[in-house]
Amino acid sequence: MKAIQRNLPAIILFVAVLLLWEGAVAFFAIQRFLLPSPSVIAAAFTGNIDRLIHIGWFTTKEALGGFAIGCSTGILVALATARWTVASETLMPFAIAANSVPIIAFAPILNNWFGVDNPFSKMMIVAVIVFFPMMINTVRGLTAVDPMMLELMRSYGAGEGAILRKVRLPNALPYMFSAFKVAATLSMIGAVVSEYFGGNRSALGVFITQEAAQFRFQNAWSAIIVACMIGLTFYLVVLLIERLTIPWHSSVRNAQSN
């Protein structure tokens, strides 16, 4: 009940935008291929639901696979470089530079390497996209430790291994969760957009481009909604895990007391 009350303004805004959209399409007699009305999109959505679920799941698997590969290698590389200061100081500028490169531009090349029909090619694109934010954030979390905490650990005769397990890793968790949230959103975007460059017939991005090419824009819109829903779900799942994993962190504490 309280949740509804708190989110009431957002719900009202959402409904108002839909009504305005519907009204505007009817009032200005906007052609369907330019902008279908919400009711037409909803009809296309329910009409194609089986197919949408099928292709949505196909692309979700690509996004999840890429997320897993990219995040785990990002964390491993971060652990390796944070251990050796020289390595992280050498690698970090490159990682930060690479993070601002539009990696999606490499999609046709990766399609060529791994096969355009092979979901693995999309996973690799997603993996490369999420790798950099994951690695950069983890390195920051491992190294941005209060110097007094390091002194405290040394005063107890703790070695680097104990410091890593008891201080650096827990300290890195909030940083890593920021990266996971970014990566969750990026992985869905990466998977759909890489499919625009060609891919398996049962992929969400391929469906959107094909339906758009044949002027069935209401179908393209319904698939876009599926992509949004998957991306949002992914993000919310990560958010939930964050709240359960690091309840002590100020970002989570503040979110819960609000």
Binding site: A162, K166, I246, W248, H249
Partner: protein, 262 residues
Amino acid sequence: MTDTIVSLSHVDMTFNVGRSNATVALKKINLDIAAGEFISLIGPSGCGKSTLLRLVGDLLQPTGGAIVVNGKSARQARLDQDYGMVFQAPVLLEWRSILKNIMLPMELRGLSRQEQEQRAHELLQLVELEGFARHYPWQLSGGMQQRAAIARALAIQPRLLLMDEPFGALDEMTRERMNIELQKIWQQTGTTVIFVTHSIAEAVFLSTRIVVMSARPGEILHVTEVDLPTPRTLDTREHPHFFELETDVREWLRRAKGYPVV
């Protein structure tokens, strides 16, 4: 057999040796501390009090002289967890409950889980935080956090406690209460304390000896013996001899800063 727990002979400390910004922090420090003593280090800002404390704890290494802690090198004493350290800030790990924070040094020592918990609960009682075992650091006030930090330092039953302005960030009332509590803990545990402070009253109230240091380069200017009766209570502060000792330390501190002595 000697009951000297810390021995500093001809200790020099220079930062950035051989560079243009070389700074001599400490010069020719000679000091022997007997087991069970409460030593305060007092002096102008930047005189190297904290540096001296870190040298004893092997968090820094001297550029000259010898340091013996608990009959061994400072490094070996650190690795053997012979001392506990309390910093100006509580430095509690925010992802651990108060209980788990106090268990940290015992974890590193490899004590059994049961032993860790039992001892941590005893310590919580000692610092009067019994009800806060499951709380997280941010749920406690500054004074309570600092008490938890003291409990953590005592967890491994160290023969030596190094305290770097532990009450510097607390308000006057809390500070006075903490002084009384620390004194009680010192008497109950029989541990040796080296205590860095800026407060003359705090030093006189707590110490058996007060080491007054000069401005940089830090040298030992004077050692004041505090012969007030123990245990010290709130009334101790009203004792005429308390004022005499305060005045004595204050005059040496004025000398340390190069002010005229009135």
